[in-house]
Amino acid sequence: MTSNTRNTTVINIAITGVGGQGVLTLAEILAKSALEDSHNVRVGEIHGMAQRGGHVVCTVRIGENAKGPIIDPGTAHLVVGFEPVETLREIHLISKGGLVIMNSHVQYPVVVSMGKAEYPSKEEIHDALTMHTAKIIEFNAIELANNAGNSLSMNIVMLGAILASGIVPIKKETALHVVQTTFPSKFVDVNTKAFELGYQAISDSL
């Protein structure tokens, strides 16, 4: 960890996406896994009106000194983006040398569908992200979720990806176990596959 991250004993993970993509669920699963591995943890969530298809950001903070839920700009070791523009919207959170894991699949905001605004190009997004950090892993998580059997399992693909990054002090078995025991048994196969696909994708690009 670099010296300019605040509080060397806290790992900060920001998860950003669109309401309905499973951002809150991922944050909770990740935090539950951390707790299961005996770490102190805080999750910051936003509910209510903000959830209705709008931009959502959740925080997970792991470590003894995590007291409150907020991740300040420049202090996230990992930014997990469920959608390119939403990743860009929160990129100021990334610490120097921090890692970005981003789903490359685009979900247009309504202003874009209505033709009232433009969606930035792939290159523009990439350039803007690299102004903040050089470590960016982009992959099509929706495709992997579909391969696992359900597009709704994208957040579990992302969980596998987070675990593969090595940034969180959580054992792979713990996270898998939490996933398998949290959701109804009929989702076990899809979720396990989604987790492994995400894990593999990141292990390959590291």
């Binding site: 300019n4 509910h47 209510g48 409150g68």
Partner: protein
């Protein structure tokens, strides 16, 4: 995903990852609370969402979603007067609704412990204002506690009940969004039993505050607050930690930011953390001021503690620099963060922050404008059809008083059918005011839960005083915005019992509205437009109010039902051969499941997002949007 079932477990010592709201729901069990009444309001909603599913499994426990906060406070207040422990829960603006009984309750006091949980919303994540409810405690003379995190939300709640019973007053338990919606490890303790029944002992000269009684109760109340202050002086909820020349006074979630900020800066300070913020431990606070040359006050929203600190310093002639909002070190708006505290402390101590935030900010500013993604009505939302019809029928020219719920989101283009909003229930009453002084057509709208909560008196007013207004009741069979709680129109109670639902149409008729109709917004969009037009015409001719009930379940309920049964209707799609790319569907309806394909330039329906409402079919002039056979 913490399930209500887990909160019920009789497992002392067990540690779960809980939201403060879930911790409070668990605390209800551990404190032996006999009755909880509330009207849902974010950021407090998960308290009721859990209790309603826990309630049927808890012996001797009653839970209700009351029709509104005033009702809830009266129900819960009376139970505590009768002698059991009770709780009322609301969001910040909800306490404004309950303000009337709030003040009387302090005068008469309670026999069983009572806690009023109020969840303020700095930054207004889901509220119409960020008023600081702590002033209610001051004005109403009610003890006040402020937890900082989920674990404290539960442990402090247990103490609040003890405190309440010692001083025979309800305790105002004030949280903020960043407490309510933070998840942290919380340890379970023993569950306390509840009495099956108590006897209501009459004491009218205490509990009926006619003037002669109230005149005696006010001095009594001030005496109780003096007693409460003694408890506050020695309570471990008001504690000092750390050492240093600099003093910091703080409460609530701001305390966690202070601890993290000092950690970040490697700075020493002595912190006075206040858990009981009314009545304040004045002696302790004054001594703290005496021990420091400079004291920084860190609290979100209003300078509540700061003003008290200044008052005490003046009163006791303490030479101390009190630094806070008055000098501009902190803001009176929006929530705080460790960064905000770090920057203020650096300004005060003349040091540098370890992170160059100015540089990060400027990097973000340089970035091209990102397309915004505000919250929206969901794909398949019945309100979208209703508002499309309202707007089309009135050609966008009527005045559209709105109300509080998901449907306020119709403020955004292209629907743009929200023109004025004050509070819960203001749709109908603001419509009346506008009708009297303009000649314009007025189509107000309100949801079903808000209709029962707060529109009824306004509707009676409109009938009796003959206000020419149209009201569309968007009956989506639930309280959608706060997480789908039942209300009197749904047929389910807080105890999860089936009862006879109240029908909006019957109620409106019963109140004397002569023109009342119910329509399903998904039956025919053209028919819906016709209905709105007819209603507006009728109001113009008859000069009295009319009600149209647009009734169809919330899209999220429909979607959940489809996921459960696995049965989906045939899919909707755009026939790209017929689509002329006129974009009418996108520009007039803007369903989030539709977008323009950047390659073909034709409209497309994003299948996984579509909720099968069929509204878009009627909007396309080419008939290009179809449903598979």
């Amino acid at each position: 995903m913490t399930k209500p079932k887990e909160l019920l477990e009789d497992a002392p010592g067990k540690t779960l990852l809980l939201l403060a709201n879930e911790a409070i729901a668990r605390g209800v069990l551990e404190a032996g609370v006999r009755l909880v009444a509330l009207y849902p309001g974010t950021p407090s909603s998960e308290i009721g969402n859990n209790l309603t599913f826990m309630a049927p499994h808890i012996p001797n426990f009653y839970f209700e979603f009351s029709t509104n906060e005033k009702v809830a406070l009266e129900v819960a207040g009376a139970a505590a007067v009768a002698g059991v422990r009770s709780m009322m829960v609301c969001k910040g603006p909800g306490l404004n609704v309950a303000a009337d009984p709030f003040f009387s309750l302090a005068y008469v006091g309670v026999r069983g412990g009572m806690v009023i949980v109020v969840a303020d919303d700095p930054s207004m994540w889901s509220s119409q204002n960020e008023n600081d409810s702590r002033y209610y405690a001051l004005m109403g003379n009610m003890p006040l506690m402020e937890p900082s995190d989920p674990a404290e939300a539960k442990s402090m709640l247990l103490e609040a009940y003890e405190f309440s019973e010692k001083v025979e007053l309800p305790v105002l338990f004030r949280t903020t969004t960043r407490v309510n919606h933070t998840r942290a490890p919380v340890r379970f303790h023993e569950i306390r039993e509840r009495p099956a029944q108590v006897e209501f002992e009459k004491e009218p000269y205490r509990f009926v505050p006619v003037p002669s009684v109230a005149r005696l109760r006010h001095p009594w109340l001030l005496g109780q607050i003096a007693k409460a202050r003694e408890i506050s002086e020695t309570s471990h909820l008001n504690f000092i930690e750390g050492t240093g020349d600099l003093g910091i006074i703080t409460s609530g979630v701001a305390y966690t930011y202070v601890v993290e900020a000092l950690d970040h800066l490697g700075m020493n300070a002595e912190i006075l953390k206040l858990g009981i913020t009314h009545p304040l431990p004045e002696q302790k606070l004054t001594d703290f001021l005496r021990m420091h040359e400079r004291v920084v006050v860190v609290e979100e929203l209003e300078p509540y503690l700061e003003t008290h600190a200044r008052r005490l310093a003046q009163l006791h002639r303490v030479e101390v620099d009190i630094l806070g909002k008055e000098q501009g070190y902190f803001s009176r708006t929006m929530e705080y963060s460790p960064r905000i505290v770090i920057e203020a402390l650096c300004k005060i101590a003349d040091c540098n922050t370890c992170i160059n935030w100015d540089e990060i900010d400027s990097r973000m500013k340089d970035m091209a404008d990102l397309p915004p993604r505000p919250p929206l009505l969901c794909a398949g939302c019945p309100h979208r059809a209703s508002y499309f019809a309202i707007r089309t029928a009135t050609r966008g020219k009527a005045i559209y008083p709105s109300d509080i719920g998901c449907y306020t989101l119709s403020i955004a283009p292209p629907l743009e059918t929200a023109d004025i909003l004050f509070d819960m229930g203001s749709s109908i009453s603001t419509a009346c005011g506008i009708a009297q002084v303009t000649g314009q057509d007025i189509v107000a709208s309100v949801g079903d839960s808000t209709f029962f909560a707060s529109v009824l008196p306004g509707l009676v007013n409109a009938v009796y005083n003959k206000h020419p207004v149209s009201l569309v009741v968007l009956d989506n069979r639930t309280t959608a915005m706060t997480g789908h709680q039942p209300h009197p129109g749904t047929g389910i109670t807080g105890m999860q019992e089936q009862v006879e639902p109240l029908d909006v149409e019957d109620v409106a008729k019963g109140l004397g509205v002569k023109y009342v109709k119910t329509i399903n917004p998904f039956d025919s969009l053209a028919g819906l437009v016709r209905e709105v037009r007819e209603m507006v015409k009728w109001v113009r001719e008859n000069h009295e109010p009319a009600v149209l009930v647009s009734k169809a379940p919330c899209a999220l309920l429909t979607a959940a039902e489809m996921r459960k049964t696995g049965e989906y209707p045939p899919r909707f799609y755009v026939d790209s051969d017929m689509c002329t790319a006129c974009k009418r569907c996108l520009n007039r309806l803007s369903c989030p499941a539709m977008y323009l394909d950047s390659v073909t330039d034709k409209a497309v329906i994003d299948e996984p997002l579509c909720n099968y409402c069929g509204t878009c079919v009627a909007v396309c002039p080419q008939g290009a949007i179809k449903q598979e056979e």
